[in-house]
């Protein structure tokens, strides 16, 4: 059933150039796996039965299938961002990241389902229905790159694209036992990525090992005249920079997040999660890295999630004002243009997205802008300054992802405040500062995967990847495929 698609990119490339397998065979297997995983996990928005093929060249990605989150614009292929507002939208241009992957010879075989426009962390708000975790289909993948995570973890292909505004690549990766990497803001052009919150949105990738993540981002990245926030990274080769030399690197973790004594009546799951985290810290030391516990102002950490909600909801209300049904998407009914737009938006957006829009509208009301929106931007700076100061002394911050394993699907409502909310939300700091940030699997609780996150300073992606790759080699979770828990 799955002979090749569970392999790494480098292994597949070796087989292709030595004529041990053809690209057509890989595509056929990937499409077959897509149908199986669609049945089991509801992971796809579109399966491309006749994908655009590419010759096998020296490029590592040529001829190898991959998946694309449905919020990337793909020329000639339905691109809905899992929203009914775009249910018939077939773009006439490719996102720059897609163009770059086409040049590398990569073969797109499906569009993956996601939380509507990326505005969710559960994988339950896609227009095509709830996306299920391949390790346990009664659980969520988290979101919003839920379909990409489910597909890569299931062995549909070695990688799929994601986007990350709060933790939308890195948390689903942890819940599905794979690698999720968002590089420094602007390393990959966002042109053609449907915007959610432009100051926080990042392109990135989900893979099953760190080297594959480096290979894919090497192909996606580059300065783009169509995205003024992109920057020239032509002097950076992420794959070549992985040399597994981490001795002397300095890591820190945050007491207020990682100390079990911070949590009232911690569950056995949380205790085990932090226990696994501490074991991973020991591995870091074994590799010659120093690990230091540091302390951060708790009131700032407590404000992380609120800061994220205010900024992201406010930016989203503005970004999505172009979803009128006039320019693209199905036309609404009405006697005038306002009625037509309102009909389109009222019927197109799901209730949970409308809820976020109402929050965005509330914080942008004239009387609330200073109190909420501007103050959120101020607190964002204070939080980023704390991390920037940490990076003056340390190479990376290492932290556990979430409070344990993937949550049950019957508990999918967005939780605003709880004892463990900082564990659930701290990855958003990576978006506030545009920091390179990667999640890798680091253990199991009751046969379900958990993950650890490594975040470094802007432009120092090589350092982050090197630490992650070295740590990955010391653990047994590289290239793992989801095994359904019975």
């Amino acid at each position: 059933m799955n002979k090749y698609m569970s392999m790494s990119i480098e292994k597949l490339h070796e087989l292709l150039i030595n004529n041990k397998v053809t690209s057509d065979e890989l595509i056929a297997e990937s499409l077959n796996m897509s149908k199986i995983v669609e049945e089991k996990c509801n992971a796809f928005a579109t399966i491309i039965n006749e994908p655009e093929k590419h010759d096998v060249q020296n490029n590592l990605l040529s001829g190898i299938p991959y998946g694309v989150k449905d919020n990337y614009s793909t020329k000639g292929v339905l691109s809905t961002a899992s929203s009914n507002t775009l249910k018939d939208y077939v773009p006439f241009f490719d996102a720059t990241a897609i163009t770059n992957l086409k040049k590398a010879g990569a073969v797109m075989v499906n569009k993956t389902a996601m939380d509507e426009f990326g505005m969710g962390g559960t994988g339950t708000t896609a227009s095509t229905g709830i996306i299920k975790n391949p390790w346990d289909t009664s659980r969520m993948c988290s979101g919003s790159s839920s379909g990409s995570a489910a597909a890569v973890a299931s062995g549909v292909y070695p990688y799929a694209l994601g986007s990350d505004t709060g933790d939308s690549i890195r948390k689903p990766a942890a819940y599905c036992g794979i690698v999720g990497y968002k590089p420094t803001y602007g390393m990959i052009s966002r042109y053609g990525l449907f915007p959610f919150a432009s100051s926080l949105d990042h392109c990135g990738v989900l893979t099953r090992n760190v080297r594959d993540a480096a290979i894919v981002v090497d192909a996606m990245k580059g300065k783009d005249n169509l995205d003024m926030t992109s920057w020239d990274s032509s002097n950076i080769n992420l794959l070549n920079s992985i040399n597994y030399k981490v001795e002397g690197k300095k890591l820190c973790y945050i007491k207020e997040i990682c100390d079990i004594n911070n949590y009232q009546s911690p569950s056995d799951e949380l205790k085990e999660h932090l226990n696994i985290f501490n074991k991973t810290l020991e591995l870091c030391k074994k590799l010659g890295m120093s690990v230091t516990e540091i302390s951060v102002d708790k009131s700032l950490l407590d404000a992380v999630a609120a800061t994220y909600i205010v900024i992201s909801c406010a930016e989203a209300t503005s970004n999505m004002s172009n979803l009128t049904g006039i320019i693209f998407g199905p036309r609404g009914n009405g006697d005038n243009v306002n009625e037509m737009m309102k009909h389109h938006r009222t019927n197109g957006f799901s209730p949970l997205i409308k809820r976020r829009f109402v929050i965005g509208s509330y914080v942008l009301q004239k009387e609330n802008q200073e109190k909420y929106f501007k103050n959120a931007q101020r607190v964002r700076r204070l939080i980023v300054d704390v991390w920037k100061n940490l990076f003056k002394e340390y190479d990376a911050v290492i932290l556990p992802v979430g409070s344990g394993v993937a949550k049950k699907l019957n508990n999918e409502t967005e939780i605003l405040a709880s004892d463990t909310s900082i564990l659930e939300e701290h990855l958003q700091i990576g978006n506030f500062g545009g920091f390179p940030s990667i999640t890798i699997p680091n253990g199991f609780i009751n046969n379900l995967p958990v993950g650890i996150n490594i975040t470094g300073n802007c432009y120092l992606d090589e350092t982050v990847l090197n630490i992650a790759a070295s740590l990955e080699n010391e653990m047994n979770y590289k290239n793992q495929i989801a095994k359904e828990v019975k």
């Binding site: 005038n336 243009v337 809820r355």
Partner: protein, 100 residues
């Protein structure tokens, strides 16, 4: 006593040209006090008045003007194929002036 009413929630949505069903309005209204209290955590941070709001991830953008050169643009036929209502090579849009 809540500061929020059904009418206020409808206004916030109407500002964005979004209509809410009574169920959707109730869902949001029931949560608005919790949401308001939650996002107010921002205002528990002292002495932030003089902090410059952070609007971008990176503070070191180098923005340069592009040279004014003609570049490849989108093919008109490709663009028109995406539109619901087309007349010849023009897109039909709702009338926005002269309706009176």
């Amino acid at each position: 006593m809540s500061n929020f009413t059904k009418e206020l929630v409808d206004k916030y949505a109407e500002d964005l040209l979004i209509g809410l069903t009574s169920e959707e309005n109730k869902m949001v209204l029931d949560e608005m006090d919790v949401i308001d209290s939650f996002i107010n955590k921002i205002n528990l941070i002292p002495n932030i008045e003089n902090v410059t709001p952070m609007t971008h991830c990176l503070d070191d953008f180098v923005v340069t003007l592009r040279s004014d050169e003609v570049t490849e643009s989108i093919n008109i036929e490709d663009l028109l194929s995406n539109c619901d209502l087309v007349d010849a090579r023009e897109i039909e849009v709702p009338k926005v002036v002269g309706n009176e």
